[in-house]
Amino acid sequence: MNPRRVAITGLGLVSPFGGDLADFFARLLAGESAIRLLHTDDLPRPLSMPFAGCPGFDAEAALGRPLAGMLDRFAQLGVAAAFAAWDDAGLTRTAQGDEREDWGVVWGTALGGTMAYEKGYRDLWQNGKERLSPLSLIHGLNNAANAQISIQLGLGGVSMSHTVACASSSIAIGEAFRRVRSGEAAVMLAGGSDTPQAYAVARAWEALRVLANADEASAPYCCRPFAADRSGLVLGEGGAALVLEDWDHAVARGAVIHGELAGYGTTCDHSHLVRPAAAGQVRALNAALADAQLTTADIDYVNAHGTATPEGDPVEIDALRSVFGNGAERLAVSATKSLHGHLLGAAGALEAIITVLALREGAIPPTAHLENLDPACAGVDHVTTARHQQPLSAALASSFAFGGSNAVLAFRAVADQP
């Protein structure tokens, strides 16, 4: 079977700013941060950390009361994002006929239903309960998001979730992409969701000493990838989803095509659980380029993994310099986590959406708060304020996870179709 071209026909997210997709992208271009100080009432010691939450998310409004009540927050965010992407693609919520019997969903989540089980532990160990409600198990299922998306949209093909830490949803998108390209499915929904504010999860990140320090006033500016004065990463919650579609299928039904997913490369550093290695990232970048039949000269923008850690940032720039050689100096790079935080399993999907919008709109959102470049991160064209009216034809989005798993997605702008 001839490989199919893969169109991106639907984009959906739960925005930390509370608005729609256009509003989200406009705020990123304006350099507006969604990061605030999060206070909780947890025992024995409340959380107080910079965080990019979705405080305006109304699960009942997005999903209806019965469905919202069946889901833990990570799955609520995921299904809401999937619905938004599906609506954006102009597809109906209910299936007609059996066309969707081989359509599927591939999801990514690093933590899955962790918050649901955490609630159980609290009830049993802190709140004096002796038993848990029957829905506790349903809430805690790590595949709850993909399963409910399949149920709600009538998708009869593969339905699964990948857990690959910070690369979860990039890998989900890549694996879904392969199924559309091979002709196995005309339409696949892919994305990810996560809620890393689970108490023990947040505390565990804190213990690793990689989280940014901030107070109320400095929180919006505390995530500074590639900066000499960075203090660490900022966790965020959210959900993001893309509809991937056989190009001819999309054209035949008159769908709006936002961009083309042209290639996917995934590798493992196979060296260390948390210390990234440039060699593994180089192989992933080259694999994505080769898969997309693109060369480094074609790439106008890279949405970097850029988490703002001294361990990660220089290695990533080192890998880009290796791959792009003399062209690296002219390569536009930005790390939008400076504005929306690190959504763990949802990060790759959110950043894929940002990359598609950058290509579609000809506008590059910045790495915010990057005033003092870390010399170890020099050698690429860091985008520190938004660039508009850019003729962008192709771009990469990178996710480099704990565990050494790397995933790079390669996108083409629609206007640049060969």
């Binding site: 019965p66 069946m70 409600s133």
Partner: protein
Amino acid sequence: MNSLTLIREFLDGRLGVPPDKVVPEATLAALGVDSLMMLELVFEFEDRFGIALAKDLKSPKTVGDMVALMERLRSEKS
């Protein structure tokens, strides 16, 4: 609280079913109570009244059946 009120509050809170639809002759399935939601409803009842239902209990079909079951268990307990 009587058993019908408990069922009404539960269905309103969990599924958004208006209380005036929760009448004795209504079937639980038609109100959106599937097997999972039935487990939750039983759990809520047990929790509220300190009663443990037998595991092999036959599921009631209508709101009226459910009310009758709850009332019987409560009177047996008291």
